[in-house]
């Protein structure tokens, strides 16, 4: 059943996307092992960089500013 397989993969990807949005720490190990796997098989550099980018991505902060102080606003 190729159809069912496609549907399962798509639904799994969407769940993973939302897991990553709601709980970034839960998906971090997945990206970590993926980046190790890519490095060991010698995947193309852009692919490795993209995965490394997902690892480094962090939510929060005002735009690119990462120092939000208690009084509101960013300093």
């Amino acid at each position: 059943m190729i159809e069912t397989a496609i549907v399962v993969v798509v639904v799994a990807c969407c769940s993973f996307y939302w897991l990553g949005r709601l709980a970034p720490s839960a998906v971090r190990p997945v990206w970590q092992s993926l980046s190790r796997a890519l490095a060991s098989v010698g995947a193309p550099a852009p692919m490795q960089r993209a995965v490394a980018g997902r690892l480094g991505a962090r939510s929060g902060g005002c735009g690119a500013c990462k120092g939000c102080d208690k009084g509101g606003g960013c300093h």
């Binding site: 069912t4 549907v7 639904v11 969407c14 902060g61 005002c62 735009g63 939000c68 509101g72 960013c74």
Partner: protein, 619 residues
Amino acid sequence: MDAVVRERTLRAALVGNPNCGKTALFNQLTGSRQKVANYAGVTVERKEGRLTTASGLAVRLLDLPGAYSLNATSPDEAVTRDVCAGRYRGEAAPDLLICVLDATNLRLHLRFALDVRQLGRPMIVVINMIDAARQQGLEIDIARLQADLGVPVVTAIAVRRGGASEVLAALDHPLPPPPPVLPPDADFHAVVRKLLQDAVSRPATASEAFEERLDRWVLHPVWGMAILIALMFLMFQAVFSWAQPLMDGVQALVDQFGELVRGVLPDGVLQGLLVDGVIAGAGTVVVFLPQILILFLWILTLEESGYLPRAAFLLDRLMASAGLSGRSFIPLLSSFACAVPGIMATRTIQNPRDRLVTILIAPLMTCSARLPIYTLLIAAFIPRKTVWGIFNLQGVVLFALYIAGIVSAMAVARILKRGERASEHPLLLELPAYRAPGLRDLALGLWQRASTFLSRVGTIIVTLSVLLWALSSFPAAPAGATGPAIDYSLAGHIGRWMLPIFAPIGFNWQICVALIPGLAAREVAVSALATVYAVGASEADAAAQLTPLLSSQWSIGTALSLLAWYVFAPQCFSTLAVIRRETGTWKVVIIAAAYLFGLAYAASFITWRIALAFGGGPS
């Protein structure tokens, strides 16, 4: 590698008074190569763009929030002060400060340029809107000004194509030496007066008289209010009527695409996923793009033209009666687009208490994400007829929903401010010159909104639609089941489990299911309804659109109750997240969510009861 690039890149920052045309110059210089971090607020966000000069120098240009002085009185100005002085954490000091001045308002703007010069950092001065100055018969002796100031001075016309060529050329010159600095106790105004005397000749002007005549109407106690109300009313009529043909077009495209997929793929789970999940879900929301763009076109035009501060002037007294100042008006108006930039725009409010109250009531302003829900329900349940000769009843209902949000916001502000001892709320708002909005800036603003909207559809909405489709399709109905398959699915169970909470306000279980993904963003509720009904529908009417489906299945009481719910419900994680970020405490977030949910439930309950009393319940 990074270090090599950094060496050849010039880091420059645009600074200037509000209304000096800084953002237009930024757009002109960087075009579409700009990065607006997360949200499009006018200049409350960190905006960075890239450009390359004729000689191949790469420049990273930062657009700083407008400021009247480096003695910051608002968080907004504090950002500008700290970045300019190189004290901003995580932000290296810019190599070059580009101080933008409005040529027609040099008296005020030159003082700020002196303020910036006191920092002793390399800077150039850009005299912007030089065309407007010439039109007014103003002669500015640039060479003289440059000699007196001791920094390079160039001119620009930010709104005209090629109007920034002198600025580009100036960037190619080697960095100017640090400028001369005045003793700290110097009288800046005296220096400005001397500069103006030396370098500027000004005859009395005609365009000023024009502005004054216009202001006599626009700021008039009676006519001014009439103009304001007419503009707002026209805005909502436009959102409803102008967008209709475009929306019909998009709807037809989506339908055709659905038919195409249905024809190509065999019946089965994959077809279900694509047609009932992705196309029904995301397609229903994409249809609202024209409406949202028209709303933004209005808001951008009002922002660019210089009208907004005048509206703030007219409404200051009303805001004061709710305990706020006219300054709160501008963040609240941007909240009509989206509460997120609106809440960020509260950084221009100096009084911390005013700022907090404005943040708490901003979610009550009807944001553009509520438009799809309002439009869907209005189109399904409110007859399209003309009232009082000229108005479309649907537009009137939409207007009333917006008014309901505003009135309740004022009431909440009033309650929150009660018991506060009388204190001063400074207004001190500049009423800038009127300006025809630049087409380029409007187009860029609309493009940013459209791409934000579409990328939300592509990520949040598509993925949620898929998940919701899966929840409503599995587990499949057992053999020999009589009811529709969706009744046996996970979504069906969840919906019925929530029903006891929401049945007293007239919601059915399908609405309950749609409310959960609707937390991610309000418009998702529409796509969720579409998916739930598409999966649940029998084969014959599966192709039918959501609107007729709803009007045949819901009572008017349910529809009105859901409308009332969405006037108040804080169904948006991004808003709650930005409240947390801007206030730095979860306490405010909890207060906001609790009071908004409470209001939503109460309003829906009352609406439902009234509808039942008038026979609007299920037949």
